[in-house]
């Protein structure tokens, strides 16, 4: 019966010691240990979440990059195309302007040549007339009395004179 009768001394000391151990361990061991474990678990969880988020962000970033590159490529193509078109246009315009200028110059040249020709013809006509008159005077041998009439005749002749 002794074996199953709790002795008061051991009951007392067990109570005191156990309570002391519980309170000391709560204050100096369990609180910090469990706190640190929780904190660490939380930080690991946070790190994992952050990694997941970063991964998603990276994927997003990569997609963005690809999109930007594609856009840039398209833009470049557009620019090149525009430049080519502009070049062609400029060349065409330059050609047109040049030909227009050439035509103008040609026309002006033609007009001036015509004028020169006409002038030259006029001069020639009057020269020929004078020459012819002088020749006629000499041929006739005498100066016509009526100078006025003769001048009229000359003018009339010149007028009627046509080349070609």
């Amino acid at each position: 019966m002794d074996l199953v009768t709790p002795g008061i001394g051991l009951v007392f000391w067990t109570t005191v010691t156990f309570l002391l151990v519980v309170f000391l361990l709560i204050k100096f061991a369990w609180k910090p240990v469990l706190g640190m474990i929780n904190e660490r678990n939380k930080s690991i969880e946070d790190a994992l979440q952050l990694a997941e988020k970063t991964k998603a962000e990276m994927a997003q970033l990569q997609a963005d990059n690809e999109r930007i590159i594609a856009e840039a490529r398209k833009e470049r193509d557009n620019l090149l195309k525009e430049a080519r078109e502009m070049k062609d246009q400029m060349i065409a315009q330059a050609k047109a302007e040049a030909s227009a200028e050439a035509n103008k110059i040609m026309a002006a040249a033609k007009v001036s040549i015509e004028n020169e020709k006409n002038q030259a013809m006029q001069d020639l006509k009057s020269q020929v007339a004078t020459l012819s008159f002088e020749i006629a005077e000499k041929v006739i041998g005498k100066e016509l009395e009526n100078k006025k009439v003769s001048d009229e005749i000359i003018a009339e002749s010149i007028k009627n004179l046509k080349f070609n």
Partner: protein, 356 residues
């Protein structure tokens, strides 16, 4: 290969033992008329508590050290403190103030201290608050636990947020196992409040059990195999269970819903008894398991002395080794069971009922 070698080595050791034992036995046979070996006294002497720490006998003298005796007299109130060596193993009476004490060996191990009046030993004694072998071991376990876990906490503070290292890495899985697989499934969202108590109970029982398995000085006391210790632990669980019981728990005890009214008083009585039987079972289970283990180990060792020959030693050693390994497992298992059932009882006191 290694296994084979070690097996052979083991056999060699056994045979060496056997032969040396036989030669010893022959030597001993010359010395006759030793007092008969009293197995009851030996076993219960080890199982019970003691006022001194006996380590071994040398030339018929006990080698050990005395422990403080603290006696509290109730009428009138006084406290006497002296070393147990003053009793000289019960051969002498000790007089302090008005009282004379005598230490009397109990039938089933341990000693009682009685008053001596007019040269006669009475059957009354003072309250014995002595630092006995078990109390000494209790203090030792407390110190070991404080050093272990405060050291562990310091390791956590030194390396915040990092992976555990060394001893801390050994303790953490155990702490987490108890916390996550024993406490949390039973207590759910209330777990944090009770985790410190339950962790302390687990490690206290485990370390005490293991201390009991060490066969020499710092160990050998049958701490968790003493009903007083398991009684105190069970009372703590009883108190915590009932103080944390919610309205529903008490309603289930005194007025079980859905029960026909004539049965309510009968069930209330059964339930009230149940409040006490649950921790009572905790107390008996731990006490009986540890005490039984000690008795088996001591019995097997006593075989050598019962047969009076060392030839039986290899058999004893083999079986004791087997039992020790089993007890090592039981030490952890009983700590686990006590903790798990405590958590379960506390959890049952907080049913998540219909309105909760």
């Amino acid at each position: 290969m290694i296994l084979k070698l070690s097996k052979r080595n083991f056999l060699i050791v056994c045979f060496t033992f056997l032969f040396s034992c036989i030669s010893f036995a022959n030597d001993d046979s010359a010395v006759e008329e030793k007092p008969a070996f009293n197995i009851n006294e030996t076993i219960f002497g080890h199982i019970g508590d003691n006022h001194d720490w006996h380590m071994w006998d040398y030339n018929g003298h006990a080698v050990g050290f005395p422990l403080p005796v603290i006696l509290v007299n109730t009428n009138p109130f006084s406290i006497d403190v002296f070393m147990s060596s003053e009793f000289e193993h019960g051969h002498k009476t000790v007089t302090k103030g008005d009282h004379t004490y005598k230490m009397v060996a109990k039938e089933m191990g341990g000693q009682d201290i009685f008053y001596v009046e007019n040269g006669e030993v009475t059957d009354k004694g003072p309250l014995d608050f002595s630092i006995t072998k078990n109390v000494f071991t209790l203090f030792l376990v407390a110190i070991i636990m404080l050093v272990m876990f405060i050291g562990c906490a310091r390791a956590y503070k030194r390396r915040p947020g990092q992976a555990p290292k060394g001893f801390q890495a050994w303790l953490e899985p155990v702490i987490l196992f108890i916390k996550e697989d024993v406490i949390e499934p039973n207590l759910g969202r209330h777990a944090d409040k009770y985790t410190p108590y339950l962790l302390t109970v687990f490690f206290f029982i485990w370390i005490s059990n293991m201390m009991g398995l060490i066969p020499f000085f710092p160990g050998s006391a049958n701490l968790t195999g003493n009903i007083a210790v398991t009684f105190v632990l069970a009372v703590f669980t009883l108190l915590i269970t009932n103080f944390s019981g919610n309205k529903e728990y008490w309603k289930d005890i005194f007025c079980m819903p859905g029960l026909p009214w004539p049965l309510i008083p009968i069930m209330a009585v059964v339930e009230v008894i149940g409040i006490f039987t649950k921790p009572f079972a905790l107390m008996i289970r731990l006490f009986a398991n540890i005490t039984a283990g000690h008795i088996i180990v001591l019995s097997l060792t006593s075989l050598i002395f019962i047969f009076g020959t060392l030839a039986i030693a290899p058999v004893s050693v083999f079986f004791v080794m087997f039992m020790d390994v089993l007890e090592l497992f039981v030490a952890a298992l009983q700590a686990y069971i006590f903790t798990m059932l405590s958590a379960l009882f506390i959890g049952l006191a907080m049913p998540e009922g219909h309105e909760a």
